[in-house]
């Protein structure tokens, strides 16, 4: 008597399972076609040279070429410089701001939060252009510096190798601090506020609270933001492309920008470009894994 019933139920769950697949298929197919298939294609292209009918298999040549490519290493060095300065300053600032905004005694919190977050609504191209114009030799920043007597005459920030790097790092910090702050603010709301009050009653200063409660409790979130920020740095494109165009010389060129130039400027070299792109992907994947591992073991 029980048998037919059981059979029917099995069919029902099978049917449901099938419907489940139906629900997720469009998204998965799109990801395969527009993400995983291109990765395989990038790998294949990276061991070829030439284009159209003149495609040749060159094995690892494109990858070997990377080691002797001075411009690529300049781009790598630039990216490291950005990461080393931008990530700690930005995340430190974001942490301090989040801790302040988590304090119940602070008024107008919502207003401050909104204002601090506002830069994150801007398109990367838009803010790159604004910073470019602001830091021009005859721009508003030089103007203010001269009026306040700090500078005698306008300084060509974007024409100076370190000046351009400085402006770029500053603009990145400006654009992304509020974004990271939101992560910390959310992380902090998950921490029981009584913990802070208890520490204050015990006589802890706000500095001590920050060091001994905020940072340890936020560790997973901090790790997440470090990964995101480093990842973002490695993929920097819109800003260098529009703010400094990689210049002066190659003083600010980023890895992504270089990959783009190899592929789409003057003589296109898809093979070599794909080799760098593929290597970048591997580096990012490894970095994420290492950072996640480091986060696991230190807990």
């Amino acid at each position: 008597m029980n048998l037919p019933k059981k059979r029917k139920r099995l069919l029902l769950s099978q049917k449901q399972n099938l419907i489940g697949w139906m629900f997720l298929m469009p998204a998965v197919v799109l990801i395969i076609v527009f993400m995983f298939y291109p990765i395989v294609q990038a790998l294949i292209t990276s061991i070829q040279s030439g284009s159209g009918v003149k495609i040749k298999w060159v094995g690892m040549k494109n990858y070997q070429r990377m080691f002797e490519d001075k411009k690529l290493w300049t781009a790598v060095k630039n990216t490291l410089i950005y990461a080393v300065w931008q990530v700690p300053i930005m995340l430190g600032l974001a942490l301090v701001l989040a801790a302040i905004l988590n304090n119940k005694k602070i008024k107008f919190k919502a207003v401050f939060r909104t204002l601090l977050f506002l830069p994150c609504t801007m398109s990367l191209v838009a803010y790159a252009i604004i910073f470019k114009l602001m830091f021009a030799t005859n721009g508003i920043v030089n103007d203010l510096l001269i009026k306040s007597g700090i500078l005698g005459k306008g300084f060509n920030f974007l024409g100076d190798a370190w000046g351009a790097k400085f402006v770029l790092i500053l603009s990145l910090i400006w654009r992304w601090t509020g974004y990271n702050m939101i992560f910390y603010v959310t992380g902090l709301t998950n921490i029981d506020y009584a913990l802070f009050e208890a520490a204050q009653i015990d006589g802890a200063s706000s500095g001590q609270c920050f060091r001994h409660i905020t940072i340890p409790m936020l560790k997973p979130v901090i790790l997440l933001t470090v990964i995101m920020a480093t990842n973002g740095n490695l993929q920097l494109f819109d800003e260098t492309f529009n703010l400094t165009a990689g210049g002066p010389g190659n003083a600010t060129i980023s890895i992504s920008q270089y990959i783009y130039e190899v592929a789409f400027k003057s003589v296109p070299n898809f093979g070599y470009s794909c080799a760098i792109g593929f290597s970048l992907m591997i580096v990012i994947a490894m970095l994420v894994l290492v950072q996640m591992k480091a986060g696991d073991t230190s807990d």
Partner: protein, 270 residues
């Protein structure tokens, strides 16, 4: 006394940083109404040159077209992304089993893939399909994103299963449950996903720049970067254009702030 000093310093810091945060945006808006000469002279008050600036741009660039393209592409992408990714989030979570979890893990790996690494194969794909310069080339690759699927799956987790069971007993089929139960319940998640997707689409640059070659197909960020390559830069006109590109996202953010912040926070709470 020390406490008072500390409070004072805290507020000072907040005010200074908030000011730095907003200053470039204010400068952009104010300068959009000034002449180039006034901007270079360091004028920080609104002027009356906004119409002149607008005329200068309209003479040389198809600003209206770029705004229209940006809106159409971003709106189209957002609608499709919301439907397809919410379906996936629903499918992955409600019909969860080992096979689907494995696939989900692969999908999440996609978060690490840099756009620049797959841009060339994508470009070749759309070129051989003769789809360069179309809206579809611009939006197809980013309709389904690991982040959005993750967001929907994560938020589906909070949905009580009893509702679905009850709906099944009431005789609703699976698709009806998705349409009539899941979608209304998940409205906040849809709002979050909408704000984030629309803003990302509106601001997208690298891929649209590569794939949209014609002037009349350009989106706003692409137009902006073209403006800068013109050899005679007119500050007022450029900053008016930048304002046009920025204001929609600022308005969306200010009116849907809660959802936007929720979206970012979603990955922390998960």
């Amino acid at each position: 006394m020390i406490k008072k000093m500390q409070t004072f310093l805290t507020y000072t810091l907040l005010v200074i940083l908030s000011f730095i945060s907003v200053f470039p945006i204010l400068w952009m808006l104010v300068s959009a109404t000034n002449t180039s000469a006034d901007i270079l002279a360091g004028r920080l008050l609104p002027g009356t040159a906004i119409l002149d600036n607008l005329q200068k741009i309209l003479k040389m660039y198809n600003l209206g077209g770029a705004i229209f393209n940006s809106f159409r592409n971003a709106a189209g992408l957002t609608i499709l992304a919301l439907i397809i990714c919410s379906m996936a989030g629903y499918g992955f979570e409600i019909y969860r089993d080992r096979a689907k979890d494995t696939i989900m893990r692969f999908v999440l790996l996609g978060m690490m893939v840099p756009t620049i690494s797959i841009v060339i194969p994508l470009y070749k794909m759309f070129a051989s399909a003769e789809m360069l310069n179309t809206m579809w080339a611009c939006i197809l690759p980013t309709i389904s994103t690991p982040f959005l699927i993750f967001l929907f799956r994560q938020n589906t987790r909070a949905m009580p299963r009893e509702i679905i069971q009850a709906a099944r007993i009431d005789g609703l089929n699976e698709i009806q449950i998705y349409l009539k139960m899941y979608m209304p319940i998940m409205r906040p998640t849809y709002a979050t996903a909408m704000t984030i997707t629309f803003m990302n689409a509106w601001n997208a640059y690298l891929w649209p720049m590569i794939v949209l070659l014609d002037d009349d197909k350009m989106t706003m960020p692409v137009l902006l970067s073209y403006l800068m390559t013109g050899y005679k830069m007119d500050y007022g006109a450029i900053l008016l254009c930048v304002s046009y590109c920025t204001l929609p996202t600022i308005i969306i953010f200010l009116s849907l702030q809660k959802f936007f912040v929720n979206g970012i926070a979603g990955s922390v709470k998960g």
